[in-house]
Symmetry: C2
Subunit: 480 residues, 2 copies
């Protein structure tokens, strides 16, 4: 049993060192592997299966709103990247440059896409002619490269997987509507599927995306009180359309510039799941996104018909539509329990000789460790119900935690004190000036404006920092 | 009606110019778009939806055999690419090199992956320790770059989408079994899902993959009699394991080298669908892979309740699990028919006032143009049946055509005459020497060995070319 204990002990507790706890969970839950390439990761089966579930569900939600998938090249010629001035300034410092194809030096170097606004704009400039061609609501699933200096698996890496939606519309109103619509798709997805409560709002001028006229974001709160930007949606107005000459002939036969949006969500969400739901026993997956929802663990599996019955139980669960597996390896039950908990599998079903005598099994919740005894005949329906309960409880708990870590400040003193002593979100009024954001960041160890929530409240009349008249309520926080 | 006619006339007939016909179909069926980047393509919604169906079905078949998906970096350091000598010779001339990350020159340049044997081997060298870690049966869906000189959409482009499976096993026997298993998965998929008959066999030494000890292939015959390699599966033996030091401790506590395989299928299959099934009216999609299976086209749609009934019909089809759409645009019916045919949608349903009076609709098959009158109440079941019939007929027709274009040669003279006058496969005996392959290719305008089929026959005693004793029956052909 020595090895069982070791398995658990190898995780640093989150209270002791949150960053190390995160690294330990990623490793021990077998989500990623190492590569020679600094800042890159191998996403292993347990990690990739989470991404596949995210993809399937997001893709389904996208398609319900009329999104169509496409694929554009992974390289961007330098000249194309430079067409929109703000955009190139935002990305040029962190792209990887291809200079040779085979033995030949390229006439123009190309970067591996860090994001594809310029490629889509170039494509739309050739594909959009008339109002009849609009709107185009396209999305692609792909990987992108950004040459980051400090990296962490899922949260910030030189390559990550994502989807990037790029749409083109006839009117400014339609573009704005699509921008907000997709932000809400992300928010609902995060809350309903990943059980991650989020704040929906708009980024300030300082924090918005390079080239956008407005950026919307969903912000979640991690276990350590740091914020994580989970998905963004950008309205570009006609900025790219003017740089790329994307015009259409209207119904009135006039030539008009188009309006564009883009929106993205990434493998970073796997990091969010870990840091919102995990605990000192490891990963804790919300049932809807869990690749394996129920692990059947036979006890004294060599006795009588235990193994046979355990396999029957797994088949029963599968037939009921539950993603079930059995751990029939020769490891000890204790080791199997630790492993199932480490990997975040929402429930385990224990079946031993004594259970079988009584025609029952024991269902153990990963989130609360509550044990539920169920007749074998009812096991599938009890597990189904339990998974629903876990999904809801995980969301409610995360929401309660976020609320308990969201503080309101109406004076500068209170603001500073909270920032220095209480990890979490701070809500306060703000004058709208970048100078206040800059000073807050400098003086309070990296506190930034996370967003101006859609649901605005009037907390005080003046900016928490400079005392000038307040323009908006802002959520502040330290962020990943 | 002038514009309707034009829509159809814009396709070059395949008898006149097959290459131009192909280009026209790709363009008019709206599968790809142009980009500034030479040799790259934009895959538009109609094309990408075909790829999504291919992905879903292949992925399902993979997982049934125990495959797990992963994701590895898109860049390969030069030193890693060079570790297996044959492999680097095969790929180095056609890779794209990244030399800078941001403003900084990299210490070691990296190529964008042309294929990932080296990355997987590097990963396995760190992840495999004991027989308990084996086998690993991993796959990834991604894009790869190969700096090709001449390119054509789907068939050969500098970037393409594919899946690459990479497995590692304890024994040579297991690796060989997996290599053949995956080749058969490809073959069954091509025949059952894409209605494309294939020849299954082994590549000759000359034609095998860089670094493999054996390469297996499925070869299909296009409408013009040229062969297309549709999927390959490679057995690497322990070559990569020795280059990358991938070893495991066996049950007997000895240190052993692993055995590896890889296998891939690409967006090239979309090109195969076009060239096997298409005709002079455009694309012809087998129902199982068709993103839209049935297009409802209202006739005189402004009359009475035609439009309403047509929409009801579409909903009925959808409820029956048929991927149905309605074309209720203000284009003329003739134009809509042409467009539906051009895009390869397997059936259309015509509903006009006269049909409605009789409570019926007319179902028109894309493949045969046969018209079937069905009561509205029966439409869904008739369409379902018709789609199954089309799928089977398309396969049988393609198979009959392939067979009618497969010739047997038992003398050199016959071989040369067939090669010069009859497009298609030539079956003949071969001595096993590369020199004969080289001479045949040089002297017969590019005829190459496509494969040594699994089902060998004894056609003659001697090699068709040199007269030495025959070692194997080979399928020859000109290929894309």
């Amino acid at each position: 049993m020595a090895s069982d204990k070791k398995f658990v002990e190898e995780i640093t507790s989150m209270e002791e060192d949150f960053a190390q706890w995160y690294t330990d969970v990623v490793k021990k839950a077998d989500l990623t592997g190492y590569t020679q390439l600094k800042g890159f990761m191998v996403i292993k089966p347990a990690g990739y299966a989470i991404w596949e579930n995210i993809q399937n569900e997001l893709d389904r939600r996208f398609k319900e709103t009329g999104v169509e998938n496409v694929y554009l090249p992974c390289l961007i010629p330098e000249g194309l990247l430079q067409k929109e001035k703000d955009h190139v300034e935002g990305f040029a410092p962190e792209v990887a440059w291809v200079t040779h194809g085979g033995a030949q030096e390229l006439e123009e170097r190309m970067c591996v896409r860090p994001t594809s606004e310029t490629l889509f704009s170039d494509f739309y400039s050739r594909d959009v002619h008339s109002y009849r061609d609009l709107p185009k609501v396209y999305n692609q699933w792909c990987s992108v490269l950004r040459w980051e200096k400090t990296t962490r698996p899922f949260l910030r890496s030189r390559e990550f997987l994502w989807q990037e939606g790029h749409t083109v519309h006839a009117t400014a109103g339609e573009a704005q509507e699509r921008t907000e619509q997709m932000l809400n798709v992300y928010a609902d997805f995060a809350e309903e599927f990943l059980a991650i409560p989020v704040v929906r709002g708009q980024k300030t001028e300082k924090e918005k995306f390079a080239g956008a006229i407005a950026t919307y974001t969903i912000e979640a709160l991690m276990h350590d009180g740091k914020a994580l930007q989970c998905g963004t949606s950008h309205n570009f107005g006609d900025g790219f359309a003017k740089a790329f000459e994307i015009r259409y002939v209207s119904k009135d036969n006039t030539l008009e510039y188009c309006h564009q949006t883009s929106w993205g969500m990434t493998t970073r969400m796997i990091g969010a799941i870990i840091m919102v739901h995990g605990d000192n026993s490891g990963l804790k997956l919300p049932p809807r996104v869990a690749p394996v929802q129920a692990m059947v663990i036979p006890i004294q599996q060599k006795k009588g018909n235990v193994l046979e019955k355990a396999r029957e139980l797994m088949e029963t669960l599968r037939k009921a539509g539950i993603r079930a597996k059995i751990d029939d390896t020769d490891k000890s039950p204790g080791f199997k329990f630790s492993e199932q908990e480490m990997r975040g599998i929402p429930v385990r079903l224990e079946v031993g000789p004594k259970d079988l005598e009584k025609g029952q099994c024991v269902i153990v919740r990963r989130d609360t460790r509550e044990k539920i005894t169920a007749a074998l005949d009812d096991a599938a329906s009890v597990v189904k119900e339990t998974l629903e309960t876990i999904q809801n409880d995980m969301f409610e708990n995360a929401k309660a935690r976020m609320e308990s870590m969201t503080y309101t400040a109406t004076t500068k003193e209170a603001f500073c004190e909270i920032a220095e002593t209480k990890p979490g979100f701070i809500r306060s009024m703000w004058c709208g000036e970048r100078s206040c954001e800059d000073e807050i960041k400098d003086q309070l160890g990296g506190v930034t404006s996370r967003c101006m929530p859609f649901h605005q409240e009037h907390l005080s009349d003046t900016c928490i920092w400079c005392g000038r008249p307040a323009k908006a309520m802002v959520y502040w926080g330290k962020a990943y």
